[in-house]
Symmetry: C2
Subunit: 365 residues, 2 copies
């Protein structure tokens, strides 16, 4: 873990920055293994090119921070104290003058950036997000182990959902059963709101599960993820209830071919946009091009949506150590939607699929 | 709903701002009833002093936005399109020059503020958060109705938790049972991660539920909230398992007296810090002052933590229409912790408690 902070320090030296202010709780966890969800309260990890880092967090969380992998100074503040006075005092003790401050522009609220400029009038900002994303992009053994477990939990969860299918049951009821059984087995954190979409609802890629009841001939789409040791999985499977129409069968087969073709094409050095193209070609050739309305997938890790974005316009290439989703989808209004999503780890020896729930079309009776 | 947008427009006129850029999905929902969680995608509600507002959201969400209460122009963009070009084009068509732009500094990422300054080089920012907070602070009838239902759901949830208590059961298992039963009854969104803390864990006000098993003599603390129609409840109750020690009884009685004294003191025009003082005095007089380590409570609404902050240093006064929590707590290391939290609506006729689960100490057998 300190290893990752070392890389930040090295970058700060090369970049000529005075310090980095890491405020995103996910990045703080990534660098320290200190898990803290401070809500509107202040959390800040300050890293320096040549000096020891320090962490400021609510007093209630200090003990947890001290027992994390961080190992450097932890400063707590109470609800009736202004954390910025602690920031100022500690930074001043390090004799910091104006200069470049490395921040996370995509998540750091404008107000906090402004507070920094109040401390250091002539401060300028530089983004450290590229470095953090590229570090987080390449998973180490610990991370891979967690993501394998998260993938297995996702497989298990889809199985629970399929077992819960019954005529008349609502989408929400199935979600409740999945999450109850998961929690009983110690998986109490989902990566995002579990989606179970049935019938015409399955044609809305970002639909909201509701009280629609399962009917014969429905597609039933499960999209869910489980968090293990902080790391997310993300799986989608689609099944049919009682029978399948010719249209549905063709949509399903096309989507599965696209999923398989893309996984098959994964290799180091491949342009990411071309991977999207591989899946999209299968779907377009079958005449469903206009119904594949989103990118092929996204990176996965501590966040359920990370870099790289697996989209047509991404000119970056696949690198060993990446974990990402491959999730082609076909959404035909009034007929229904199919999406088949796997999590892929790109090892030095080729793609390793982390999600294993069967993909041949199941017709549930 | 448009009524709330009218108030923003009026404020923009008085404030001399060119437009407001509302990016926080919760505020977008507040103003339009369009529920959208865009993750890292772009969402923006643009409101003008004299012109029609418009909304930019992912194409996938356009239908939902159109069927909301918004009623003005909705612009969708695909994943392969840059939403900022739509922002620029639409703003240009309104012939906007440089000037003051109203933003939400606490939540707007620095990067998005920067993007605005790239569109309008001489733009300056002003905060619209004070207005939004003060609007959201005062609940209308629709909001109160939702919060009453959310309070009832919270009462029901605590009952489920108390019913699930059994020797040897873990904190996580009880949470799973609560949320499963809630979901079966249509309550599938919690306001925050449900907390069940037992024994010495109950002494950590921000503890994480785990696999500790219930033992005789434990305090069992439930802190949970349910979301209904977007609005949150937030309740805490503490019970004992099998028997209660003299120390525990005294801690409980003191905490309950503090809760009741504060609720009794609620009235329009009262300085909020003094309400914290009322509860704190009860606890301090009983000798537990140093164990009440947090503020008395917080505002409640679409967010689980809103203004006003019910803290000692808050000089603002209570106003009819506010909903807030009253949640004194006493956390004695090695003995255990008690917190008793209610949601209070301040009507013109005095405080109305929205949470009704009984507060006399229950000893569960």
């Amino acid at each position: 873990m300190p290893d990752k902070i070392n890389k930040i320090e090295e970058w700060l030296r090369n970049n000529g920055s005075r310090f980095a202010y890491i405020a995103d709780p996910v990045n703080v966890f990534y660098l320290t293994h200190f898990k803290c969800d401070p809500h509107e309260r202040f959390l800040g990890l300050f890293i320096f090119p040549e000096d020891e880092p320090f962490l400021i967090c609510p007093e209630l969380e200090v003990r947890q921070a001290m027992s994390s992998d961080f190992g450097s100074e932890v400063i707590g503040y109470r609800d009736d104290q202004d954390p910025w006075t602690f920031v100022k005092k500690t930074l001043d003790s390090r004799k910091l003058n104006d200069g470049k401050i490395a921040i996370e522009p995509s998540t750091l609220p404008y107000k906090k950036a402004l507070a920094l400029t109040h401390l250091y009038e002539h401060a300028s900002f530089t983004s450290i997000e590229g470095l953090l994303a590229s570090l987080r992009n390449i998973k180490d053994e610990f991370e891979l182990a967690a993501m394998k477990k998260a993938g297995e939990a996702a497989d298990y969860a889809v199985g629970l959902g399929v077992d819960a299918i019954k005529k008349g049951k609502t989408e929400k009821a199935i979600i409740a059963e999945i999450e109850y059984e998961l929690a009983k087995h110690g998986f109490s954190e989902m990566a995002f709101d579990t989606m179970v979409l049935t019938g015409e609802n399955s044609a809305a890629p970002h639909g909201y599960p509701g009280t629609r009841q399962i009917k014969e001939g429905d597609f039933i789409l499960f999209d869910l993820g489980v968090v293990v040791d902080g790391y997310c999985s993300d799986i989608t499977r689609t099944v049919c209830y009682k029978y399948v129409s010719e249209d549905q069968q063709k949509i399903y087969d096309t989507c599965l071919q696209a999923n398989l073709a893309a996984i098959h094409a994964v290799r180091e050095g491949l342009r990411i946009g071309d991977l999207d193209g591989t899946a999209r070609k299968v779907i377009t050739d079958a005449g469903y091009g206009k119904y594949f309305t989103h990118r092929l997938g996204h990176g996965l890790g501590l966040g359920e949506h990370e870099e790289p974005s697996m989209s047509a316009d991404n000119d970056h290439t696949l690198t060993a150590g990446m974990v990402f989703t491959i999730e082609p989808g076909i959404y035909v209004p009034d007929v229904g939607g199919v999406r088949i999503e796997d999590d892929i780890y790109l090892s030095k020896d080729g793609p390793v699929t982390l999600t294993h729930y069967p993909k041949e079309l199941q017709i549930i009776h």
